[in-house]
Symmetry: C2
């Protein structure tokens, strides 16, 4: 029992350390808030530096560690990925999208500033992600940098994250296809970037085809479990703990995994996916302990 608590404390410390390192990289790359455009930089900082679990960067770094990949490259790539995640939240929160006032317990960017600034801060954070990846200090091999850029562009673009968000904006789904469309939406909207996180670590680490496949399986299951858990928290969660509004899907008349599957079935689906995700890691043996713990962390979280 004590051993288990120690393991959790140690895991949470690793996660917090990773989050801090990502914040340092992003803080360094976001230009200083000077000149008549200073508000843009302040908004970028608000959107990218204020909290967040930094789960995607953590996955990149832990996957990279499986291959003893250089930490500086992993951290730079992970920070670029987090820029894209941050920009997507800034844009998703806009009045014309999910219209959220609160994010991580703070006013959303368009609330703290204004809508135009939020659109521009999101745009600039996306450009910053590619600037970081293209920088020669991120990795000595330009071929590796280009591969990272291509994977991020595909994962976040029309066939990835942004495409998923477009589906999420659709008024409602056909009843008979609802679960299929919801699954497609999840794979694109949240799954693609989680898969990209592991792929980043695998590319920098020089994984072989078999290892790429195992990691792809791991993130597919983890990503789906993560989303179902998110939907459960939307139903069961506490706004003060979550730092954002709850019952959003229900209030918006939107279907989600819990409304379609029911709570009980959703919970057992999460458990099955968690087991599968861990199975995929078995090829890495004991070296994947932290990634295995990541699965439990994601599914036991209360926010």
């Amino acid at each position: 029992m004590t051993e288990q608590l120690d393991a959790i404390a140690s895991f949470e410390q690793s996660l917090a350390e990773c989050a801090d390192k990502v914040t340092v990289v992003l803080d360094k790359f976001i230009p200083s808030a000077i000149g008549p455009e200073a508000q843009l930089m302040r908004a970028m900082r608000h959107g990218a530096l204020a909290g967040g679990k930094r789960l995607r960067p953590f996955i990149t770094i832990e996957v990279g560690r499986l291959f003893d990949a250089p930490e500086k490259s992993l951290l730079r790539a992970a920070s670029a990925l987090e820029c894209v995640h941050a920009y997507s939240l800034v844009h998703d929160d806009l009045p014309c999208m999910d219209d959220d006032d609160l994010r991580r317990g703070l006013p959303t960017v368009h609330k703290a500033f204004d809508e135009a600034t939020a659109v521009l801060a999101g745009d600039a954070l996306q450009a910053l992600a590619f600037e970081i990846l293209a920088n020669t200090e991120t990795h000595g091999d330009a071929g590796v940098r280009c591969k990272l850029i291509e994977v991020l562009a595909l994962s976040s673009g029309a066939r990835g994250m942004v495409g998923g968000q477009m589906i999420d904006m659709a008024p409602s789904f056909d009843d008979k296809d609802a679960l299929n469309i919801l699954a497609r939406m999840q794979r694109m909207k949240t799954g693609a970037l989680i898969s990209c996180a592991a792929e980043f670590g695998a590319i920098i680490g020089g994984a072989n085809e078999h290892e790429h496949q195992a990691l792809a399986g791991f993130t597919t299951d983890l990503g789906l479990a993560y989303q179902i858990k998110d939907d459960l928290l939307d139903v069961q969660g506490d706004e003060a703990v979550l730092g954002k509004a709850v019952s959003k899907d229900k209030d918006a008349g939107k279907q989600n995994f819990v409304s379609l599957l029911g709570e009980e079935s959703a919970i057992s689906r999460i458990e099955m996916l968690a087991d599968q995700a861990k199975q995929h890691l078995s090829v890495f043996g004991g070296r994947a302990t932290t990634l295995t713990q990541t699965v439990d962390f994601v599914l036991d979280r209360r926010h």
Copy 2:
């Protein structure tokens, strides 16, 4: 006289051919409009394929020709740049930004679709730009591809185009600094991407330091002349010919080069900049004839 008319006709034909080729590349790269996210692709097409002079791509291709650079690489890079230009127009037209209903004689993306779709289409077009540049077929040398990506990210990000747009959103400038701030805004908002266009051709063409400098001087002068001309058209232009609203700055109580300098002084400034821009091209001798014509085209245009 006939010779001059022939030269203009030939120039305009080159420009139109370049525009068509860029449209073909973009049409190929924007995913098909299928699946529940199909509206996103339709909006991307509306924003990126419907008209436009394609002046930036033309500059990339003509600069590249100075160095006998491979056309496929130039065209891909030019199309990526045009994606960024197109996304910026889609976002600039949003109600929370310039709030425009008309662009190139057609409804703007948020008018033809809705605001959420316009935000997402812009985001996806930005990702597409970097996807195109990272693609191995764009250039065989990954170092060249990374350099293009870095230049585009810097030109379009917080210290470039988006930063310039942030300045443009500021309520008004201090009177004594107005011309300085306006010049900074122009260099960032429109100048950076025009400079990027020439830089793309120079990078792919393997220009030396001296040539890079000459081209940077050329685009700095051309970009500023272009903006002053734009401000003149906003005052003098015809909405039907322009395909967009006129007197926008005046109606919005915004300063521009014409309001600050006066029409006469603005016109002589344009002429001076045009001469300077052409001077910078002298290092390339007769090979730069088309780029020289570009200066005249930009400054004689009525839209």
